[in-house]
Symmetry: D2
Subunit: 406 residues, 4 copies
């Protein structure tokens, strides 16, 4: 057991950090400005400055880190983890700058692992190149998304085509006009066994019958820089049978395979957010004066800062261990830990963000600081991929089984 | 000691409830719709349906309850409290429907208690009549608002006028074009003793040099139905000396007098919000099925509901007792309790709203339910009138002094 | 609604407070000393000083307040509540000093309401006179005590006698040699409907077959001043049929009737404990110096004190309202509130005691201060009469039912 | 970075586990029995069964693991950590069984690093051999122990002797008659700079003027199996100058050196306690039936179990990382992490124990399960070596300094 990153990781982390310092942080102000304009004009594409960042990052080979073998060094989950953390520090820009933003990353992995050559050529190549963006359409209104068997969207074979009917919501990125392809989960065989009913299929933007109904709000935020979170309707949407990803009935298995790395990425980025929040909290505390002295002198503020550090150190180690387990024993072997980080991350990071907000006073909840927006994003993790309560219940059952006396 | 409301209160509460059932709740959907349109058209006036509600309520004499002697029965704080709670259940509409919305209520009280006859005629009359709205401009960017001596806005005498220079933010209602008058706090004499430096003065909308710079966001919400929360700039704004409210140097005392009833109102409305959230949580729990049974059968959901009830009952009693103290021993005698409800209310109600949101899944954070917006509003109470930490510190000092051995 | 006690209450409260100041607090040190000696000699009777206090209190008519109509003024629950709070401040001595200690109070109520004349003469009279003590034997090892139908102790009719067989534990007061009578709950008819299986019967100390097996410990404490908490065994214990309290099958109903007032008493005494802990915490904070200044200057300590006050004020009001409900609509009408105070009280008071302990440093957990012992006593309330989780579950079910749409 | 123990660690851990299964767990019942007898006889020596365990462990070479180079394999902190965890599972027996119990371990380290050859021969040899026990006397009543400059005990040179005067408390192990030597901290030069005033000196049990006044209680526990926690008085106690450990003025530095490993050991043993509590909680939950089904089916109990696992995994990793840092960059380099685990461990483990207790019902707080006693021990960690608040304050200051803008 040891707790230092290997040299290859340190070297690439250093390069990413340099890129952040030279390009990403300085671009934040204009990105913010551009997004304000986008709202006024009701546009849903990312800020123009992002395209410049992407060009620079790609040029420097700081690109597609997430993909095993696809990044500069063929990174493991554990090697990628600290990079994800750093990109989390500028969550509106950095993940996309390095072409490492959800949901594209998971979608590229799916196409990489399960796509046909033709699918790879048509969609994976431009995604890897950063020419287009993509979305992943699984969650549905009206049904508890924690239970995949609830899915109501139908994918029915009709000759050389599949016909889709159904409704999805919270489809991140879909409002971005450059989001060209959707991986859609639906039921091809409602009579099959629980986990063989679902399939995944590619739907191109603009296919007749495919409608984007509206953007969902997250505590008032529309997340336009991420392409929003759309509600979609599929009405007799016809796609060629060659659009199926994997075979019929493999939808559930593909979704599971997609899940593990996504969790790690989300959690590590969240830790990056928390680190930046601690930094902001500390700076604010030294610079803000109340009743004649900086609020950094107040015991309660110090208590928040200490607790933040103590909790975050523990969380990071658990996420890193989970990455290591996924690298060494695979997603299945890391099942409990993947659940654990899904439960632990929003608890810890929400708490830290709340205290950082409080330290900033009324400004903390406004558009003048990113803290409230980060908080809202973090709050969503408590039901993303099913509410935490479902995961806790499952984790507890496994724990209880472990100790059962014969 | 007894815990039932008197007959007069019960009678008026019943009438308010009837009005809610017949008019307010049924209007919520169209108000929501109208506010969506307002956003699209970048308008800041309240929903059209509100004007209809106000007309009906006024006609029925359900109007201006808050003003001691001004309501139908000349209500005490304790009698008004349950009405405030009920209006909190439809916070976007009901307080304004009965002309009992902040900040108008506090402003009317200030004019009632401290205004000249001329000021009353010009501003209090139309406010009481519901013809115009008003704002209260105290909080400033850059300085800790918990310490009134920090105020930087200047009010300087120049012949028959006062000249205002300064900046304010979080001025609720200011974006509403019908908000015709602002009570502005500034310093007339920075050399006076700590609590005699400030004065309050009336500024009419449209006075030259008065600018509304932008609306502040609360998380991602703009609160257009409340007229937003504006940042204002005063540049050599000249107003006649007759606009001064009370005398020079009385600003701090007026602000204090305004504070107590405002707290009670806020807290009781917050309890109404929490009651409605519990109701929504219970209904959702019985109607939402996961893994084959309603989530109301889940122990964790029941735990949330029980805790919500237990915490809310305690909080309501403390707020009611505070109202009673204000009625019997005055604001000063109720000082500790006024601080206590300021601290306790957001803690309890935030927690309840968080659980109600979680029970609603992803819908809970979206525009499809009001829960997330209520939560965001509640979060602001933790720094409104100074961060809770300042109030806790002060309350603790008083408690410690009480027990000091001679 | 109003929040002041009536004059009769205030007058009697003043007398009790005077007695506390003149007699009870000054006796605490010797009581502590005597209990240390009792441990060394393995004795289980209360400290000698208690007998003196009881004599004085009885002489002054400060006696048996708890019994409706039995106290000096025929007190209601609401009138008794503040007296219970004051006695909680010296929990090892004061309740017993005024002959208001559990479980005697509940037992006297049972005998008063359900006892025969003969039973009253034999047991209620000496209990009211303070000549003997009593115990209430319901809880059993091996079964979840929250479910009365689980009771395994048998009470079988055999001619003119009942024969008891079974085991009980946590029988408070039983180790005190002056505890002369036990009210024992057992099943007379296991075939009857759920709540008609149980009966209550009187068993005199020393009846053949009745054994006291051991004292149970509460976090290392034996609570000898309360007569400990015993494990008992009944082996063919024969008592005359005239010892039955009420009729066969009425045990459950009697237990329920006994429960409500007991809860109020427990909760109010707990509030008294918390008040004294806050007082101790404040004094310690002003008198203890660390790093050059009293710890009362530390923000975190102030936060504890403020939170303690804010939480306790809310709790007290809920307990008082519950007392008022019991007086006005009866135990059944106050059912939800009785559950609520059972849930809320240990949460709040435990928290306050924990902070008071922490303020006292290592001394806080030792025999040099009563705080740790009080904490341990409070911790037991989270399963007394069934674990809080059972009560929360039940309260939530009622709340959910209230909001169910037709 | 990787998260598996090395082979040497795994091998020794396996041997320790085997020893636990074969010898320690089976001895727990008789140890418990023997301690009950010890209390009745007012004896303070460890249970007889411990001597047998020690003999067996020593024979198998499972002995003195803690001492770098002294154990079977010359263990690092990181290698020792999992062994400490396992011994924590039977905290009353296992640490001492392997001669790895506090305070002997820290004392042996002190003598190893700072003792003279003579001191080593006289005291270190028999301690390593397990023939005697020892104590460490630093904490004093009346002064905040978090500030070493507060120490009031005097060590004054008088010819060939030092003369000690002062009072200590919470001196663990001191009541055990086989505790033959005390390392005592006192001031040799109150005029020296803050951290050069203190020295450490050896005092043999029975030296004239050395008195053991009483055992301190932890909640109601006396911890006789650990030799209790004594209050001591030194009245003109004369010891030869050769008893000084290190030089005059080195007391503070020695105390600091002793601290780091002690923290790791305490924390890892606490994790072992928590693991066993989770195991007990899970078993109880499957075996206890309430309202017709095992309580393991209750959502709230599952929530406790899941939270316990999630929190404990995070804590363990932080403690292990701290051990690794101490091995690689030393105590000073691991300063923040050593503070962090001191803060995090009792929070997490207390919480888990509380839930395990609640799952056990009233039995959980009694002598029938070790949970309450473990909880009490854990509660002491929140002020051991100074209250957590002092450590949080210090950690926050360092964090704030890290982010200060130049």
């Amino acid at each position: 057991m040891h707790f230092a990153f290997d040299d290859a990781t340190n070297e690439i982390v250093a390069r990413v950090q340099t890129f952040m310092d030279e390009h990403v942080y300085p671009a934040e102000a204009s990105a913010h400005e551009q997004m304000r304009a986008a709202i006024a004009e009701d546009r849903w594409d990312p800020p123009a400055v992002l395209a410049e960042l992407r060009a620079k990052a790609k040029e420097q080979g700081l690109w597609n880190f997430f993909l095993p073998g696809g990044g500069p060094a063929g990174l493991t989950n554990l090697q990628y983890a600290p990079i994800a953390e750093i990109t989390g520090r500028s969550i509106q820009l950095a993940p996309a700058a390095f072409n490492c933003a959800a949901p594209d990353t998971g979608n590229m992995e799916v196409l990489h692992m399960f796509g046909t050559d033709e699918q790879k050529q048509q969609w994976l190549e431009p995604l890897l190149a950063g020419d287009i963006r993509s979305a992943f359409a699984m969650t549905e209104p009206q049904v508890a998304s924690s239970d995949a068997t609830n899915i109501e969207t139908r994918i029915e074979r009709d000759g050389d085509h599949y016909v889709l009917n159904g409704r999805k919501w919270w489809i991140t990125g879909a409002m971005n006009p450059n989001c060209k392809v959707f991986i859609v989960m639906g039921k091809t065989d409602p009579e099959a066994s629980r986990h063989r009913q679902q399939s995944m299929i590619l739907v191109e933007r603009g296919t007749p019958g495919f409608e984007i109904l509206r953007g969902m709000q997250v505590f008032g935020y529309e997340d336009r820089d991420h392409g929003g979170h759309a509600e979609l309707r599929f009405t007799n949407v016809r796609v060629p049978v060659s659009n199926l990803v994997g075979g019929e009935g493999e939808g559930f298995a593909i979704a599971q395979a997609r899940l593990g790395p996504g969790r790690i990425h989300h959690c590590m980025r969240s830790i990056g957010i928390a680190e930046r929040a601690i930094e902001m909290m500390c700076r604010r505390a030294t610079e803000r004066v109340a009743f004649g002295r900086p609020i950094a002198d107040q015991g309660v503020v110090r208590d928040w800062i200490a607790e933040s550090r103590v909790r975050l150190e523990q969380l990071r180690l658990l996420v890193l261990k989970t990455a290591w387990l996924m690298d060494t024993v695979g997603n299945r072997g890391a099942h409990t830990e993947i659940q654990a980080i899904k439960i632990a991350t929003p608890q810890t990071v929400e708490w830290i963000l709340d205290k950082a907000i409080q330290t900033h006073g009324a400004g903390g909840i406004s558009q003048d600081f990113p803290l409230a927006e980060w908080w809202a994003g973090m709050r969503t993790l408590r039901f993303a991929d099913g509410p935490d309560e479902v995961h806790k219940n499952s984790l507890a059952k496994a724990e209880i089984a472990k100790h059962r006396r014969d």
